[in-house]
C-alpha cells in the first residue's frame, strides 16, 4: 500500500484534519492514510482546536472545514496563517459557501476543495498543496474574477489588479481547464501557469490588506467627524 503513493520515497505528508463531524474525520483519515501519501497527525472538531493543534503538531497541512463551532473556520485560518506561515491550509467545504471560501483564501488558505470530490481528487489536492501549488476549483476562480471585476470600475490607487494574462488564466481555470491543459492551450509551461495562479492569490491577499486599511481609515474619519 505505502509504496503506491510515496513519491520518490518521500516522507508521508503530515496532515491535521479539522471537522465537526466525526464521520467525516474518519472518512478523510481513511482516504489519506490508505493512499500512503499522508498521515493524519491530529484531529480537531472546532476552530479553537484547529489553532491549538496546529501549534502543537506543526503539520505540513491543515485540512479543514469552514463551518466550525467556537472559532469560525476563517478566523482559525487567519490565526494559523499568521502564527505558522510554513503550515499550508486546505479548505474542505461541504457547500462551497461562496463568500466564506473567498474570505478563507484571502486570509491565507492555499486552496479549497469540495467534500463531494472523489477520494483521488482529495488526495491529489493534499499532494499539490504540499508541493506549494494553489488548488483552485473553477467555482473559486469565478469568485476571484468577480472580486477583481468588482473593483475594476472604481478608482483606488495602488490596489493590486490582475494582468491580462492572469485574467486569461483565471478564466480558463473557471472554465474547468487543468493547469496542464492551460499550459498546452497557451504554449507555456505548467510551472508558469502555477506561478501566475500563485501571484493571483498573493494579489487577492494584498487586496484584503487594503480592504482592512481602508476600513480602518474610514472608521477613523467617521470618528473624527463626530
Amino acid at each position: 500500500m505505502v509504496d503506491q503513493g510515496s513519491e520518490l520515497g518521500a516522507e508521508p505528508i503530515r496532515v491535521l484534519v479539522v471537522d465537526d463531524h466525526p464521520v467525516w474525520r474518519d472518512g478523510i483519515r481513511a482516504d489519506l492514510e490508505s493512499s500512503g501519501v499522508a498521515v493524519v497527525v491530529g484531529e480537531g472538531s472546532d476552530g479553537g482546536e484547529a489553532i491549538d493543534l496546529a501549534h502543537e503538531h506543526m503539520p505540513d497541512i491543515v485540512l479543514m472545514d469552514l463551518r466550525l463551532p467556537t472559532v469560525s473556520g476563517v478566523d482559525a485560518i487567519r490565526r494559523i496563517a499568521e502564527d505558522l506561515p510554513h503550515v499550508r491550509i486546505l479548505v474542505l467545504s461541504a457547500t462551497g459557501e461562496e463568500q466564506d471560501v473567498l474570505e478563507a483564501v484571502k486570509v491565507g488558505a492555499a486552496g479549497y476543495i469540495l467534500k463531494s470530490e472523489t477520494r483521488a481528487d482529495i488526495v491529489d489536492a493534499v499532494r499539490r498543496v504540499h508541493r506549494g501549488e494553489p488548488v483552485f476549483t473553477s467555482g473559486l476562480a469565478g469568485l476571484v474574477l468577480s472580486e477583481f471585476r468588482r473593483v475594476a470600475g472604481k478608482e483606488s490607487a495602488g490596489e493590486p489588479r490582475l494582468s491580462a494574462r492572469e485574467n486569461e488564466i483565471l478564466r480558463l481555470v473557471a472554465k474547468g481547464y487543468t493547469y496542464r491543459e492551460i499550459a498546452q492551450h497557451l504554449y507555456i509551461s505548467v510551472k508558469t501557469v502555477q506561478n501566475h495562479v500563485q501571484n493571483i492569490l498573493k494579489k487577492l491577499q494584498m487586496r484584503k490588506r487594503y480592504e482592512l486599511m481602508r476600513y480602518a481609515i474610514q472608521r477613523g474619519l467617521d470618528r473624527a467627524a463626530d
Binding site: S138, G139, K175, E181
Partner: protein, 408 residues
C-alpha cells in the same frame, strides 16, 4: 382639505387641489361681495367715478373667469398678473370713492385683494405669500392717499384700520404658504412610504418563491435520503447489482447539487422582468445524467425572462451532448457578462473531435449543433465550438445584453 388618497400616482395633486379649490371659493365669494358693495356704493352715490368702478369690476370678473377656466393659478406669470391687478385695485378704490369716504363707508375693493396673497402663497410658498401680503399692504396705504388721505393726515383710528388690513394680508399669504409646504412635504413622505411598501412586497414575494423552491427540494432530498437508507440496508445483502449502487450514488449526487443551488445565496436582487443567469444555468445543469457538472459565474448577470427558455435549452443540449458522446469526467459551465455580451461556455475534458461543419453535416451529426445554434441566434447571439481530438470541447454562446425593457 381634500382627503389624501394613497394611490401614489400623483404626488402633490390631491392635497394641492383642495387648497386651490379653497382659494378659488374665497376668490369668488369676495368678488361677489365686492360687486354687491360696488352696487350699494353706486346707489348711495358714494362713488365719484362710478364708470371706472364698473370697468374695474368687469375686468376683475373677466380675470376670475379666465383663471377659473384655465387653472391659471398654477402658472407663475398668471399669479404675478393676479397680484398686479389686486395691487392696482387698491389705489383705484381710493380713486373711485368720494374724497375721504373711505373712512366711514364700505371699502370698494373689500377683502378681494387678499385672494392674490392667498394665491401667491399657495403657489410659491411662505416667502412668496408674505411678499404678496407686504405689497398689498403698501397698496392699502396708497388707497388712502388716492382718497385724499396722505399718511400724515391719517388719524389713529385710520392707522388701526390700516394695520388690521396689513395683518390680514400678511397672514393670508403666509398661511397659504405654510399649507403648501406641509402638503408638499407630506406628499414626499407618502411617496417614500409607498415606495418602501412596494419594495417590501416584492421582497416578500421573492422570499415566498424561494421558500416554495426550498420546500420542493427539501422534499425530494428527504425522499432520496429515505430511499438511500432503505436500499443502503439491502446493500449488505447478496443480491445488489453494481448498477443499482451506481443509481443510488447518482441519486445522492443530484440531491446534493440541488441543495447546493438552494444554499448558494443570491448575490443581488434581480431587476424587474429579469432572471439570474446563474439560476438559469444551474437549472440547465440540474439532473444531467452521466457527467458531473459545475456551474461558475462571474458577478451578477441577468437574462430577460423571455430569454431564459432558449438559453437554458441550448445549455442543456450542450451538456446532454457531453454526457452522451464526449466520454468526459467532468463538465463546467462558465458564464460572465463581458463588453455588452453574456458569454456562456460549456467545457468538457472528454475526447474532443475535429470541428468540421461540412463533414459533420455529411455524417448527419450536425442536427444537435444546429439546434443549439438556432436557439442562440434566435436571441441575436452566436455560437462557437473549439475542439480538437484529445483536447476536450468548449462550446461558447455569446448573447448580446439588451437594455430595452419589453422588446424581448
Amino acid at each position: 382639505m381634500a382627503a389624501i388618497n394613497a394611490s401614489g400616482t400623483s404626488e402633490v395633486e390631491p392635497g394641492m387641489r383642495g387648497l386651490w379649490l379653497g382659494v378659488l371659493v374665497y376668490r369668488w365669494a369676495t368678488f361677489v361681495w365686492m360687486a354687491a358693495v360696488a352696487l350699494a356704493l353706486t346707489v348711495r352715490q358714494d362713488l365719484r367715478l362710478p364708470g371706472l368702478a364698473l370697468v374695474a369690476v368687469l375686468v376683475i370678473l373677466a380675470w376670475n373667469v379666465w383663471l377659473s377656466l384655465t387653472g391659471g393659478w398654477e402658472r407663475t406669470l398668471d399669479r404675478r398678473i393676479d397680484l398686479g391687478l389686486a395691487l392696482a385695485l387698491l389705489p383705484l378704490s381710493g380713486l373711485v370713492m368720494n374724497e375721504e369716504a373711505i373712512r366711514n363707508t364700505l371699502f370698494f375693493a373689500t377683502s378681494f385683494p387678499a385672494t392674490a396673497a392667498l394665491t401667491f402663497g399657495a403657489g410659491s410658498g411662505v416667502a412668496g405669500g408674505l411678499f404678496a401680503g407686504a405689497a398689498l399692504s403698501l397698496g392699502l396705504v396708497a388707497s388712502r392717499a388716492a382718497n385724499g388721505l396722505p399718511p400724515d393726515e391719517l388719524t389713529d383710528d385710520d392707522w388701526g384700520v390700516l394695520f388690521n388690513g396689513v395683518f390680514y394680508y400678511l397672514s393670508a399669504g403666509g398661511a397659504a404658504g405654510v399649507v403648501r409646504r406641509v402638503l408638499v412635504r407630506s406628499a414626499g413622505e407618502r411617496s417614500l412610504a409607498v415606495e418602501e411598501a412596494t419594495r417590501q412586497r416584492e421582497k416578500a414575494a421573492r422570499l415566498a418563491e424561494r421558500e416554495a423552491l426550498g420546500r420542493e427540494i427539501h422534499d425530494s432530498v428527504l425522499q432520496a435520503l429515505a430511499l438511500l437508507r432503505k436500499r443502503g440496508k439491502e446493500l449488505t445483502g447478496p443480491f445488489v447489482s453494481a448498477e443499482e449502487i451506481h443509481e443510488l450514488v447518482e441519486l445522492a449526487g443530484h440531491q446534493e447539487q440541488a441543495l447546493r443551488v438552494l444554499l448558494s445565496e443570491p448575490h443581488a436582487e434581480a431587476p424587474e422582468g429579469m432572471v439570474s443567469l446563474r439560476t438559469t444555468l444551474e437549472a440547465a445543469a440540474f439532473g444531467v445524467q452521466g457527467v458531473p457538472v459545475s456551474v461558475t459565474t462571474v458577478g451578477p448577470a441577468w437574462l430577460f425572462s423571455t430569454e431564459v427558455k432558449e438559453v437554458q435549452g441550448a445549455v442543456r443540449q450542450a451538456l446532454e451532448n457531453v454526457a452522451e458522446h464526449a466520454n468526459a469526467t467532468r463538465a463546467t459551465v462558465f458564464a460572465e457578462a463581458l463588453d455588452g455580451e453574456l458569454v456562456i461556455s460549456i467545457r468538457d475534458d472528454g475526447g474532443g473531435f475535429d470541428y468540421d461543419e461540412p463533414r459533420l453535416a455529411r455524417e448527419g451529426k450536425l442536427g444537435l449543433l444546429k439546434s443549439m445554434k438556432g436557439r442562440i441566434e434566435e436571441l441575436g447571439g452566436s455560437m462557437q465550438v473549439h475542439s480538437a481530438p484529445g483536447r476536450g470541447t468548449e462550446v461558447e454562446f455569446r448573447v448580446p445584453v439588451r437594455r430595452g425593457s419589453d422588446d424581448g
